[in-house]
């Protein structure tokens, strides 16, 4: 693994980098709107969990990491995968269940993987990825490769035993992990206030002597700033850090969600805090973008997403033999 240079401080971010972050957020938004459309047209099946509204969390945090830092996340993973730079068409192809998908059609929406980009996977058992993050970080520590792990999970995962065991182990062994909790106040249809003894999630990290912060997850630059700061701390060998990002999902938990459990007004209020509008304003203030440039970005993203759909549509299905491959490890083919 080549150790890449650290990313610049938020204040030193140049125009192109700021624009790129905005582009990624627009891409995630448009990409997911399209997946919803494709789901209703039965091009995509299974569970589809949209990230719309939470884009700033993924884009801010992941852009602040080194490119070879590892990411391990949950089933709501499109945003994280796109922010990490995985090709939209290969993600769309995965959702279409095609052989050209990132997981060759075996994983689907909840299980995106990309070894080349140290994207260690989306996992669908709530809390199940936290122990894996400990192991990945443990390996980094032993191999002294300078890589850290970004472990992403939701507010609902905090009540799983795996959360407790993982934070304790990470703290005792000083593992290089940033635990990033995307607190969108709901675990499926359950309000965090009814199921969590302490609703300020970051405070629970104190029980493990892990430094913890809370951040506005609707502000991409704030996410970038705090993630980079924590990454330095973690990379320096001081042990894990915990970050609670306050955010909100604008859509239902999954496409199947009737949303009986929350008020339209609440959703509306949050839509008013749209992270994309927010970042656009910030860039505007820095004179980094004008309307024309913004529309150009939208244009660009629109084409990328349409191209992704075309690619997915035209891609071949996995061959019948694929059912039986990869159950056990196989020597990689020459091209791999």
């Amino acid at each position: 693994m080549t150790q890449l240079a650290e990313k610049p401080d938020v204040k030193e971010l140049e125009k192109p980098q700021l624009i790129e972050m905005l582009r990624q957020m627009l891409l995630i938004r448009r990409f997911e709107e399209k997946t919803a459309e494709m789901y209703s047209r039965s091009k995509i099946a299974g569970f589809l969990h949209l990230y719309i509204g939470e884009e700033a969390v993924a884009v801010g945090a992941i852009n602040a990491l080194n490119d070879d830092d590892q990411i391990v996340t949950h089933y709501r993973d499109h945003g994280h995968a796109l922010a990490r730079g995985i090709e939209p068409e290969r993600i769309m192809a995965e959702l279409f269940g095609k052989d050209t998908g990132v997981s060759r059609g075996k994983g689907g929406s909840m299980h995106l993987f990309d070894a080349k980009r140290s994207f260690m996977g989306g996992y669908a058992i709530v809390g199940g990825q936290l122990p894996l993050a400990c192991g990945l970080a443990f390996a980094n520590q032993r191999l002294r490769n300078g890589r850290i792990v970004l472990c992403i999970f939701g507010d609902g995962a905090v009540n799983e035993g795996a959360f407790h065991e993982s934070l304790n182990l990470a703290s005792v062994w000083k593992l290089p992990i940033i635990f990033l909790c995307e607190n969108n106040f709901f675990g499926m249809g359950t309000d965090i206030r009814y199921v969590s003894a302490v609703i300020e999630v970051y405070k629970r990290a104190e029980a493990y002597a892990i430094p913890a912060e809370q951040v506005d997850g609707m502000d991409a630059l704030a996410m970038y700033e705090v993630t980079q700061r924590l990454a330095r701390h973690v990379r320096a060998g001081y042990g894990p850090a915990f970050l609670e990002a306050i955010t909100f999902r604008f859509r239902g938990h999954s496409m199947a969600d009737p949303e009986l459990y929350r008020k339209k007004e609440e959703v509306q209020r949050w839509r008013g805090l749209d992270p994309i509008t927010a970042l656009r304003k910030q860039l505007d203030a820095r004179g980094a973008i004008d309307d024309a440039a913004f529309e150009a970005l939208q244009q660009d993203v629109e084409e990328v997403v349409n191209e992704a759909v075309r690619f997915a549509e035209e891609s071949p299905k996995p061959p019948a033999e694929a059912l039986y491959s990869n159950v056990y490890y196989e020597e990689p083919a020459a091209d791999a």
Binding site: G105, K106, H111, G187, M188, T190
Partner: protein
């Protein structure tokens, strides 16, 4: 008799239990405000209040352990685990506590607990969300394992589950929730350990449970086209298992195919095959055949997933192979 959906049969019964007995409480993830991930408890929290229909944290181990303790403590709890895949996180509580407390305490305590969970593949949920582990529960002395196929089964067996003083694992195949079937208005209960001869036949016995019974009936249709008369057996419960019904049918047809969504190797279909061959060896014209899931995790892509599950054509083919 009126036709209602499998889901309705469950709802009807759960409502009756809630109305009939104050000690009945339902606990689980998203069974209240959300209405249940498969809408089985929809509206219950509004009707019975958050004290009777309780949303829990996402903490499978304590949800089940809490159900066990509540049962020991005098309540009549029903715990919903959303899906069988998540039961792995509560396996210790189920195997080491629920199934053993009566025994270890020499009967001083017992655990009248119903644990419901959805099972099965077929909805493109990929590897972690598509498992069928009914056989693992059936392996454990101290538990009872219920696997209804029809709405009639669902209502009658759930009633019995709430009357049973032991921990009952009640498994619902997701493909069945919306399927309709006749259910009498009146109150009735179906005993555990009594299989149902869903269709009479003379040439071969197709044995299934839960969702796989449906595949068996489709296979029976295919066989009928070839003048092969298949008897279809719906097991209804795996523990206790109605061995007599299985042997009676096989002694008549002299051939059997066992169908199971779960992986074949080390699966429950092997137990059924072994029992038949042990106890009806001389009645068999051919070894018992098994048609099960492929020896792979379940993939997401539709065609691959379908290929991983027992199909009517395969079952019919396996049956014909016995002649």
């Amino acid at each position: 008799m009126p036709e209602i959906a499998f889901r309705e049969a469950l709802r009807m019964t759960l409502r009756e239990e809630l109305l009939a007995d104050e000690r009945v409480v339902l606990m689980g993830e998203d069974i209240g405000a959300y209405g249940g991930s498969y809408a089985v408890t929809k509206g219950f929290q509004q009707e019975f209040g958050p004290e009777r229909v309780i949303d829990t944290p996402i903490s499978e181990e304590v949800i089940v352990g809490c159900g066990i303790g509540a049962a020991m403590g005098g309540l009549r709890p029903m715990v919903e685990l959303m899906t069988i895949n998540f039961s792995l996180l509560a396996f210790d509580q189920i195997v080491n506590n629920a199934a053993k407390i009566c025994y270890m305490s020499a009967g001083q305590f017992h655990v009248p607990l119903v644990i419901r969970m959805a099972s099965g593949a077929g909805s493109q949920l990929s590897s972690q969300h598509s498992q069928s582990m009914e056989g693992w529960f059936a392996h454990i002395p101290g538990l009872k394992v219920v696997v209804p196929y029809t709405p009639y089964d669902a209502r009658g067996l759930l009633k019995t589950a709430f009357r049973d003083p032991n921990p009952v694992i009640f498994i619902e195949h997701t493909a069945l929730y919306s399927r309709k079937g006749e259910v009498p208005d009146g109150d009735y209960a179906l005993p555990f350990g009594q299989a149902d001869v869903l269709r009479k036949g003379d040439d071969v016995t197709l044995i299934g449970y839960s969702g796989s019974v449906y595949q068996a009936t489709l296979a029976a249709d295919l066989l009928a086209q070839d003048e092969i008369s298949a008897e279809v057996l719906n097991l209804r419960t795996l523990r206790p298992l109605d061995i007599d019904a299985i042997l009676t049918s096989v002694r008549k047809t002299n051939r059997a195919v066992v169908i199971e969504d779960d992986w074949k190797f080390g699966g429950f279909a092997g137990e059924i095959a072994a029992i038949i061959m042990e106890q009806a060896f001389d009645d068999l014209d051919a070894p018992v055949a098994r048609v099960c899931g492929t020896d792979t995790p379940i993939p997401y892509a539709k065609e691959l997933e379908q290929a991983a599950l027992p199909q009517p054509q395969q079952i019919a083919g396996a049956a014909k192979g016995l002649f």
